[in-house]
Amino acid sequence: MTRKASIGKIILYVFLIVVAIAEILPLLVAFSNSLRTNADIKKSAIGFPGIPQFSNYITAWHVGRYGKAFLNSAIISVTASLCVLALSLVGGYFLARVKSRFTHFVRGYFSVALSIPTFAFMVPVYFTFAELKLVNTYRGMIILFIATNLGFNLILASTFIRGIPSGLDEAAIIDGCSTYQIIGKVILPLSKPIITTILLIVFVSTWNEFTLSNTFLQQTTLKTAATRYVLFCGERGSDLSLIYAAGIITMLPIVVLFLLLQNYFIEGMTAGSIKE
């Protein structure tokens, strides 16, 4: 019986490991190719580098002007995450603590608005932004990303804040705190887990976003890292070593962040997907 059980366990592990290797194999091949010469890759798309060509990375970085692309991504993603965080905490506080007809309405509004697909509003927003000269600006992109990320994170924050005992608010009122002081001094320090989650969700989703970034930032020098890479592949179609090296460069920040914070990532990116 125990032998049978342990053989079963071994088969289980072998299967799980094979699936795991198959899953990350494309990324390993891409990494390996990023260190090979162009001619070598063209002979066979799968292979180990003879002499690792680290120069591929330097060339790809310069040719693709990825320094600027990363700067664009960072400015947009950091600003959008901080704004969404601030609005979600303040809005979430009032949704959690105040029972009035208006808060009831806002809560209902956002839970319905969550299901509006991107394509439902994208075309009119694009042409309005074009008229207002907001296309090809950081401002326009950031405003749009705040709007698309707001609903979900607002609901998430309000659910979290509802779990903080309101007795703490009462105590702060007796100490003479105003409502916004309560949010800053009582709620904020107790909301660290939800702050990490919100920052991570918005940062990663805006950093990786394709559809809106590709539409609202068309100027090469303003493109985010991910959309810059798409353009780069078109420009450098036959430089395969550069395409693979640039691919690794653009995915690296998020992959490293994920490997460092994998628990926060998995909890954050699946937060709210499961009904309580």
């Binding site: 795991a20 891409a30 697909p117 042409f127 499961i274």
Partner: protein, 289 residues
């Protein structure tokens, strides 16, 4: 005292939430109504437009690209409600029965989900290159049956969907695993006493217990299949037999100066999405009764 403070709080709440609500309404909801209105016009994207009634919708009915796109979206949906769901459920069930190495395995399965569609899509497009991609490798190891033009019309849709599923199923796995952790272990123990095997346990205990999560996953799989865009656009731009409603809409809005027609496609997509939400809501209610 207490009452005036409560009224104060309501007032502050109103003035704090109002700008948040208006900001969202102006950027998301009001343009969505704009999409509905524009679908009845011949708008090119510039300022002038004429009301043309149902002409865009009538044109859609006769547009063979529209019907091809619907067929492709249905194929896409059929793949996404089966393959990644079954794969992630089985792997999730297996993974939750082991302790050692669970975290590192989960990292491997989830990793593709954190990579942008723009990057993963282009890397796979390089693999699928008919001359410079994996074909030469297949040739060299004798797998001649796999030497194909993977992004040619007869394969493109399935190839692109495969890449999207490769990235997507790890996310479903994590959803399934958190649902699996909440199942009462004593249910399994009593089943073992009665001599149930693991497949019977999966069917009679696991699946009924995680039914809300399963329903949620089927719902998002269906809804997102209606408006899926990024992988297809990155890999084929919706050409060569992989045209979808979203790529057709995108081309009309931003390349063909037919924003009004594009809006009609968006309205169609949104109606289908809300229909799916509605049907799932009904089913959920029936299951709860």
């Amino acid at each position: 005292m207490a009452k005036s403070r409560r009224d104060d709080l309501k007032r502050i709440a109103f003035f704090s939430l109002l700008p948040i609500f208006l900001f969202h309404f102006v950027l998301i909801v009001s343009p969505s109504f704009g999409t509905i209105y524009n679908s009845f016009t011949d708008w090119s994207g510039l300022i002038s437009k004429n009301f043309i009634g149902l002409d865009n919708y009538k044109e859609l009915l006769g547009d063979s690209q529209f019907s091809d796109s619907i067929k492709n979206n249905l194929k896409w949906m059929a793949m996404f409600v089966t393959i990644p769901v079954i794969l992630s459920l089985i792997i999730g069930y297996m993974l939750s029965s082991v302790k050692k190495g669970r975290i590192i395995l989960r990292v491997c399965y989830f990793l593709p989900y954190v990579i942008s569609a723009a990057i993963a899509g282009k890397i796979f497009a390089a693999f699928f290159n008919p001359f410079l991609g994996i074909n030469a490798w297949f040739e060299s190891v004798g797998l001649h049956c796999l030497v194909k033009d993977w992004l040619a019309p007869e394969h493109a849709l399935v190839s692109v969907a495969s890449v999207d599923m490769w990235h997507w199923w790890g996310f479903l796995l994590v959803l399934f695993m958190s649902a699996l952790q909440q199942i009462d272990i004593s249910l399994y123990e009593s089943a073992e006493v009665e001599g149930a095997n693991s497949i019977q346990k999966l069917w009679y205990i696991t699946i009924p217990s995680i039914q809300p999560t399963l329903m949620f996953i089927l719902l998002i799989s269906m809804v997102w299949s209606v408006s899926t865009f990024d992988y297809v656009w990155v890999m084929t731009k919706g050409s060569s037999g992989s045209s979808l409603l979203s790529t057709m809409m995108y081309k009309n809005a931003f390349f063909k100066y037919r924003a009004g027609y594009a809006c009609a496609i968006s309205v169609f997509q949104s109606c289908i999405s809300f229909l799916i939400f509605g049907v799932f809501g009904r089913i959920q209610k029936k299951l709860e009764d």
